[in-house]
């Protein structure tokens, strides 16, 4: 194959295409994503995503950071599940070093994971409602999410970007009221779930907007690598908590939510059910959380990973996050790669939205739950 054929510019635009640029600043792209949409009337002919508006080169930056310093960069990828991102790196480092973290730490991490997941899904619910024009959902979802963030703030001192994990454990012990407040939250949120159901889940307009829109079958989901709730809405069993359990998850009883319709509504239902499932996990974990055991394992002040390659997968609120670390024995990672869930999830958008109309594009884009900094990294 010659050089020229590889590098040829692919011409995607016809002269008389009606191109509408959605983004980089657009209310429904949730960040600086630019969708170049070709329309005929209101029907979407094709759509090209343009990314890279907030690419910060985290992978390059991480090459000159120690393993403890990498943590704070991962916060800034998928900022809505920053705790889970932290955990991915920590778990990779711990596995490489063969460190056994105390059980209490594993419990706390799992509790925080689930709280993060609920907070993230809450925000998605609010934003999805707003994408579809139900403006009140935004405030109800945010109201309930703030409660979780207050629990976070009490323990970590920050609401969004915690950097609370560290290789070997946690930076601090959790706040003494942590258990009490978590249980209070579980009770509170269970009471608010009927509102969610009445306001959006059962609404006939919402059904019309989402059922049968953006249908993705299982094969397509696997082929595109669409993971997380979006993949599980298509029947792709991809919950890392089940497939490759990490931390305490092999001791927790929970269901993997699977829907087989593969449309926007199935993706919505998966997330709604996952919130309930997360509440169940929280109830199990908080009650059994050991009081003793400290909050960190004994670690050397300078962490040097033995030479080799390590891959750690965790389930964030949006799908499978993979951390691939190549170490050459130094205190810096030689190469670190984040397989971010949103990067794979984004590119299915073109196929799903083809043939729909603009409103469908917005609904599908919302149902995939994209976080742009995670795509760009």
């Amino acid at each position: 194959m010659s050089e020229e054929t590889v590098e040829k510019k692919i011409i995607l635009k016809e002269e008389d295409d009606y191109i509408v640029n959605m983004g980089p600043q657009h209310p429904s792209t949730h960040g600086v994503l630019r969708l170049e949409v070709c329309l005929s009337g209101e029907t979407v002919n094709y759509m090209i995503p343009h990314i890279g508006y907030i690419h910060r080169g985290i992978e390059k930056m991480a090459e000159s950071d120690t393993y403890k310093q990498v943590i704070h960069l991962t916060d800034r990828m998928d900022y809505l599940s920053s705790h889970i991102n932290n955990e991915a790196v920590c778990l990779a480092v711990e596995e490489a070093l063969g460190v056994e973290v105390p059980e209490r730490v594993q419990y706390i991490r799992a509790i925080l994971d689930e709280l993060t997941r609920i907070a993230s899904h809450n925000l998605w619910w609010s934003a999805f409602g707003m994408d579809l024009g139900a403006l009140t959902t935004f405030f109800y979802g945010m109201r309930d999410r703030e409660k979780i963030l207050s629990i976070f703030e009490e323990s970590f001192g920050s609401r969004l970007l915690h950097s609370f994990n560290t290789p070997g454990g946690l930076l601090h012990d959790v706040h003494p009221d942590f258990r009490k407040h978590t249980l209070e939250y579980v009770k509170y949120f269970r009471k608010k779930l009927p509102d969610y159901k009445n306001l959006l889940t059962d609404n006939v307009i919402f059904h019309n907007r989402t059922i049968g829109i953006g249908v993705m079958d299982k094969k397509m989901a696997i082929n595109y690598g669409v993971t997380g709730p979006s993949g599980r809405g298509s029947g792709f069993s991809c919950d890392i908590r089940k497939a490759a359990p990490y931390g305490i998850y092999d001791k927790v009883k929970f269901k993997e939510i699977l829907y087989h319709e593969g449309d926007s509504f199935a993706r919505y239902k998966v997330r709604m059910d996952e919130m309930v499932e997360s509440l169940n996990i929280l109830e199990q974990l908080v009650d059994n959380m050991p009081e003793e055991g400290g909050f960190t394992a004994k670690m050397k002040p300078v962490i040097k990973l033995p030479e080799g390659e390590y891959y750690q997968r965790v389930e964030t609120a949006r799908g499978e996050l993979g951390v691939y670390i190549v170490s050459k024995g130094a205190k810096y990672p030689y190469r670190i790669k984040f397989r971010s869930p949103n990067f794979s999830n984004l590119f299915v958008l073109n196929t799903l939205s083809k043939g729909g109309i603009i409103a469908d594009l917005v609904a599908i884009c919302g149902s995939l739950d994209l976080v742009i900094p995670d795509i760009d990294r």
Binding site: P27, D131, L135, I205, A359, V362
Partner: protein, 363 residues
């Protein structure tokens, strides 16, 4: 019996008489035109600002917030501050826009809503023109606004605006039918198109009660179609901010944007006022047949309060829609009209004709 102390006819006729005594008849008429114009302009602006404030408060309460609370007590001057801000903003001229049409569009929109106000009976004896085809006039005039929206979308030379305007055109033209048909229900009941006659016919009970089930259905259908007619609530496809950023007024700024904004809220007032007039008795107090004492107490409440009270109830319901429902898609919205609302309306019209013929409604 309705008390005459709150009637405005003595006031208006005395002004009319004194003007006629002072000057020649056509000068008097001209002065009256100007006076009515000034009163309406003031009323229009103040009510528009108040409605914007009301909307913000209502949605804030629904959403567990406080809403505007900084400018003045409870933030009542917030919208005035916003209006002053809009007045002082730069009018951005768009490159390649059709300048004449671009500047014309806001005026068409606002004139359409202004004209519709002329026929509204605000209180006993307070009505600018009492047409004998009042309803017909209101329907005809209020649908002029879509021309302005189409012009705005076309002339601003923006793709978002154009899509928004086209959506709006498709939407309003189809929903006109249902609005007309649901108002026809009351025309059949009362046997008149004159708004004052319709109000008088509800002296002993409002049509929504007298006409029982069919009138109630007509009222619900009217609420839905009217919400669509004024581009609000779940039918705000023309602006659809999550899809088209701001739809047909994306490119407008400053006072021109304020015109669109004001016209939208005044349209909401007008459709609510029509609903109040036709279904809820207009300025007629709430009467129950046979309860003389109760009826007399009701009569002591001024008719203008009755009118505005009823109108704001309807306005609240329309706001309630907006802050609850997700937006429809354009094809679903046309489906809703042609497959559900129009057949139901036609059926309802037939039922009402039958009911009226057989005299099955409360008289």
């Amino acid at each position: 019996m309705i008390l005459d102390i709150y009637s405005f006819s003595t006031l208006t006729s005395s002004i009319d008489n004194s003007l006629h005594n002072m000057m020649s008849p056509w000068m008097a008429t001209l002065t009256e035109f100007v006076l009515v114009g000034i009163v309406f302009l003031l009323f229009y602006a103040l009510l528009g600002l108040f409605l914007v404030y009301l909307e913000r408060k209502v949605c804030a309460v629904i959403q567990n917030r406080i809403g505007p609370n900084r400018v003045g007590r409870w933030g009542i001057f917030q919208t005035f501050a916003d209006f002053i801000k809009l007045l002082m903003k730069e009018l951005i001229t768009i490159k390649h826009a059709d300048k004449f049409l671009f500047n014309l569009a806001p005026f068409i929109v606002i004139i359409a809503s202004f004209m519709a106000m002329a026929a509204l009976p605000f209180a006993k004896g307070l009505q600018a023109i009492d047409f004998n085809i009042g309803i017909f006039y209101v329907i005809a005039v209020s649908s002029l606004g879509v021309v302005g929206i189409l012009i705005a979308g076309w002339s601003s030379n923006s793709k978002y605006s154009l899509i928004g305007a086209m959506r709006s055109g498709a939407q309003i033209i189809s929903y006109e039918l249902s609005v007309g048909l649901s108002l026809l229900a009351i025309v059949i009941f009362s046997g008149s198109m004159q708004l004052s006659t319709i109000v008088e016919s509800q002296a002993d009970g409002w049509w929504i009660f007298k006409g029982h089930i069919p009138a109630f259905i007509a009222f619900v259908l009217y609420l839905i179609t009217a919400t669509a007619e004024i581009n609000r609530g779940p039918f705000d496809l023309a602006e659809a901010e999550s899809e088209l950023t701001a739809g047909f007024h994306t490119e407008y700024s400053g006072i021109k944007f304020a015109f669109f904004f004001l016209a939208e809220y005044m349209n909401m007032f007008i459709v609510s006022a029509i609903a109040a007039t036709l279904f809820l008795g207009g300025w007629m107090p709430f009467h129950i047949g046979g309860w003389e004492g109760f009826n007399q107490i009701m009569d002591y409440i001024p008719s203008i309060l009755w009118f505005f009270g009823k109108t704001f109830v309807v306005i609240y319901i329309i706001m309630w829609f907006k802050w609850t429902f997700p937006r429809l898609r354009i094809d679903q919205m046309l489906n809703l009209e042609w497959k559900y609302l129009l057949p139901l309306n036609l059926m309802n019209t037939v039922i009402i004709s039958f009911v009226v013929l057989m005299g099955l409604y409360f008289k």
